[in-house]
């Protein structure tokens, strides 16, 4: 159970040691958003929130606690769609997502407070901080991804994606490389960090079996590292917002 102020790299290093695992170059540690947010103290007690007029109106329209709507709006730059009990927003980090990632599950109840958990303030910076400290502790050039479960516009069910990344290329651009018959591939940019995030989500579980850190070993890449912001489609390219 990670709590505010916990030092994640040390916790992760200790957990790896308990499993008898030594980090190697190109290991990717996928870390669940929830424990990063918890360690960073990104909780809000709804009892302390005074909803704005806009949050009260919107909460009434969609049947959602106005204080929770206030927190969601405070994390967002625009509302993209609304439905009963659902707000799809553009998060201040550019993610188009349900409820700005504000989450009520798996947050410890305490003193009658009704606490909710926000995304990390800057998940790429969090990933970089984890990466550099884990590299220091292990001596290995590791990469870090912070993942979260996102809905999709045209697919049912959530899929893990990378909201933060450090130490690996978030996208792999194959354009210009030859296909199997020597012709140039026209369109092939792979969401590399998202595919790794999805793979790790399979092992993380959501409830009683929660496993908030997954070690991915055996991947390789040749491009320089970027961060997960690269995976956010800029508004100018967006056909659906």
């Amino acid at each position: 159970m990670v709590q505010a102020g916990d030092v994640l790299p040390e916790l992760i290093a200790a957990a790896l040691a308990r499993e008898g695992l030594a980090l190697q170059d190109r290991d990717v540690l996928v870390v669940a958003q929830k424990i990063v947010s918890k360690a960073e103290g990104r909780t809000v007690d709804l009892a302390t929130v005074t909803p704005s007029a806009r949050a009260t109106e919107l909460g009434g329209e969609i049947g959602k606690d106005a204080r929770l709507v206030e927190v969601i709006l405070s994390e967002s730059v625009r509302v993209v769609r609304t439905r009963p009990n659902l707000l799809i927003v553009e998060h201040r980090l550019g993610f188009v997502m349900a409820n700005a990632g504000v989450d009520q599950s798996n947050v410890a109840p305490q003193d009658g407070a009704h606490r909710v958990l926000l995304l990390p303030r800057d998940p790429d910076a969090s990933a970089e901080s984890l990466r550099s400290r884990l590299a220091e502790l292990s001596g290995a050039r590791v990469a870090v991804i912070i993942n979260d479960s996102f809905g999709r516009a045209w697919r049912r069910g959530t899929c893990g994606i990378a909201i933060g990344a450090a130490g690996l290329p978030a996208l792999i651009d194959l354009r210009g490389r030859p296909d199997l018959f020597g012709r140039t591939l026209e369109v092939s940019i792979i969401g590399f960090a998202d595919e790794i995030a999805a793979a790790a989500s399979l092992l993380m579980g959501q409830a009683d079996e929660a496993r908030p850190v997954v070690l991915v070993r055996g991947l390789d890449w040749s491009l320089p590292p970027t961060n997960a912001h690269e995976l956010v489609r800029p508004e100018a390219e967006d056909l659906f917002r």
Copy 2:
């Protein structure tokens, strides 16, 4: 190099035998859409295509070969968005995707023909057919996913998803299960087959290193099998089409 008429389960079984791998219960074989489409002979030679007036007009508008546009439209039930050289359509199977999945890369050039590859006619049926024959050949209760790389509305880069599935639940519905603190999870439906498809995509590669079948071992599930059609968001739930 898979060709029309090749019998995929036998090819896969032979490849596994060469690797010294015996299939086990709950093994998931992820098979690239391209080899399924090739084995099923889903190629069209553009030289044989006469574009309709609509395809000619649309091709002119977006700067795309009218014969290719004709093939894309023949696989689609509606055009969702258009941009230069890009058609986002609703495929007849419900997928919202670029160019109806019609692909020009990695199709063998032959006799001056300009061949393109369509999605399998019924990927869930293809997955079930592969599953049942592989189960027969191996004696193991395996699952099969047919994956393809899809773009996303708000994310850059493609990610593997399941266009066909058999032998496992495509979605895992955790609603009603307790979270870590014993409260009921509100919204947790996981795109299980999509996360497996993404994980396998990491290993498949796109070009010279193509590896069109990936064996995923160690997953578990308790829900009954469904198919990948379950992952397609019905139009009534769709906020963005």
